[in-house]
Amino acid sequence: MSRFARSGVVFGKEILEHSRDRRALFSVLWSSLIGPLLIGFLFYQIARDRRAADDIEIPVAGRQHAPHLMKWLGEQAGVTIVDGPADPEEAVQSGDFDFALVVDEAFGKRFEQSRPATVKLYYDDARTRARPKVDRIRGLISGYSQQMGDLRLVARGISPQVSRPIQLQSLELSSAQRRASRVLSFVPLMLLIAAFAAGISPSVDATAGERERGSLEPLLINPVSTLAVAAGKWMAASVFAAVSLSVSLMLILGLLAKLPLGDLGVYFRLEPWQVSGLLAAALPVALLAPAFQMLVACYARSFKEAQAYLGYVMMIPMLPTFVMMGTGVEHSPWMNFVPIVAQTQLIQSFLAAEMPAGWELAVSGAVALALSLLCVYGVASLLRREKIVFGR
């Protein structure tokens, strides 16, 4: 029987065994759900905060000093004016209010004299939840201020344009879909987590588990090369990682298609080519994750020991994705040669509806496959070591 056929025998047995293992099945389930759940939750929060900013209740102390401003504010959509606290500084610091407006006593007088009249806005920048509201109040007040200024100039026979030597126009150059991809930047991380988390159980069982049970020694007494054994086990673990990753991706995409992203100022459209592109970009991770995990778990004598090792080590391959997610690192060609970084970049591109070059897909997939095979080869040579086979 060929080495390939024997790998197939190992593969078949591993699939049968893991599919009966509740621990393995459960980890596939939760690891594929964690991404969609988290993304759904985060979008829900963003939407809620936005809604909260549209509907705004502004506490104002001293509103009697600026009746016209109050009337104008009250006419803006969703804005309600309420009486502010007596001591706004204390009220915001203590958390009773997220923010408060205070109209200066001299507001009316200074306004009539065309001198800057003061309105104070108390807020705590650490309270991120209140930020959209604070931004909106700022916008409202400066809008009013500009209107009044323009009227004053017109009353003096001067065009309001004279007071604006420079007009700064901020033009967002990144496309709407780019912005969407920034919001969606943690999709790659979620897919990595899906593959790595689902790979743990079968990978550890195939190595440290065999050692712990004492089944490795009898297995290797069969006339089968350790490479065939390692390859069969790796392919089986990869199936689990790939299923988890694909299910996770499909659920996330389904969720994104259903969510009213347009309402959030995010343009996201999904074409079929993006779906297959995302799969092609991400699936090499499902080969790499179990290969890497098996190699690490080979050094462990027991399931628990292996899980502890993997707990530390799993952070390493995920680190670059974390960084790329937080800072929006510019893509560059060398990244295609770095596994995980390459996949993260490609997933980001496809989500942003940008088609990466064919060579990028090919190179990143080939590098991931090569590294996986290297890990499998490492596992095979470890399985030939007397210390690993007999060291229980």
Partner: protein, 244 residues
């Protein structure tokens, strides 16, 4: 047929084998008898190809087991001490797995299971998952698993360890059955009674080499002791009687 010549192996500063030689013939049961730590397990591990010897040679049916490990393994059915099963698989699936790895066809595997299961009285457990198995049931499953490819040579490392009386009887039956089929059976033990009850030839191993070998009668004659146990003690220099 198994031939071990001048086998040497050390682990760091510990010497496990210091030039072990013995022969095991077809149609005979050969017992490797010796105290714990004498080197029996190490010798068997080298025989079934998972350890490299520092010196000496091992031949399985004239195949050099160190040079052509896979070919030797195909002619061996080796049961290591405390062999583990796959708990999520049934006894039959465990056996089938090793059969397939040995290159046996599915039909031949089923036939072999049908032949061996009654000998070991395991028809009731054959399609049960191994996770709840008793020690004896696990041992029987492991045994059939290494015999599934009909090996001409059978190596059993301390096969009776921790087995109850009924299982030991079943195992004894199987060993005799294998001998009748003309196979070469080697089993290691540190229990005198077991070896003397079953073996045609006994190799007494002490400090990494064979200190004596022959039929039980030969050994009695060599040492001048009428009692085999006294002969064993005299040969190995073990003061205290070993027991399981």
């Amino acid at each position: 047929m198994i031939e071990v010549v001048d086998l040497k192996k050390s682990f760091g500063s510990t010497t496990a084998l210091t030039g072990l030689s013995f022969q095991a013939r077809d149609g005979e049961v050969t017992g490797l008898l010796g105290p714990n730590g004498a080197g029996k397990t190490t010798a068997l591990r080298i025989l079934y190809g998972l350890m490299r010897a520092d010196g000496g040679s091992v031949r399985v049916d004239t195949i050099d087991a160190q040079a052509d490990t896979a070919a030797a393994q195909a002619r061996l059915g080796a049961l290591p001490d405390n062999a583990g099963l796959y708990p999520k698989l049934t006894a039959r699936e465990n056996i089938r797995y090793f059969g397939r790895l040995q290159g046996v066809t599915p039909a031949a595997i089923e036939a072999r299971v049908g032949e061996l299961a009654p000998v070991l009285d395991m028809q009731e457990i054959i399609d049960r998952r191994c996770e709840g198995f008793s020690h004896g049931e696990r041992a029987k499953t492991s045994l059939v698993r290494v015999l599934v490819h009909n090996p001409a040579n059978v190596l059993l490392d301390e096969p009776t360890n921790g087995l109850d009386v009924m299982s030991v009887r079943a195992l004894r039956q199987l060993i005799l059955h294998l001998r009748e089929e003309g196979r070469c059976v080697v089993f290691s033990s540190h229990v005198m009674q077991e070896v003397s009850a079953l073996c045609d030839r006994i190799v007494i191993v002490s400090h990494g080499r064979a200190v004596a070998s022959g039929t039980p009668d030969d050994l009695r004659e060599q040492t001048g002791h009428a009692n085999l146990e006294d002969a064993f003690v005299a040969l190995t220099g073990v003061e205290r009687r070993e027991n399981s």
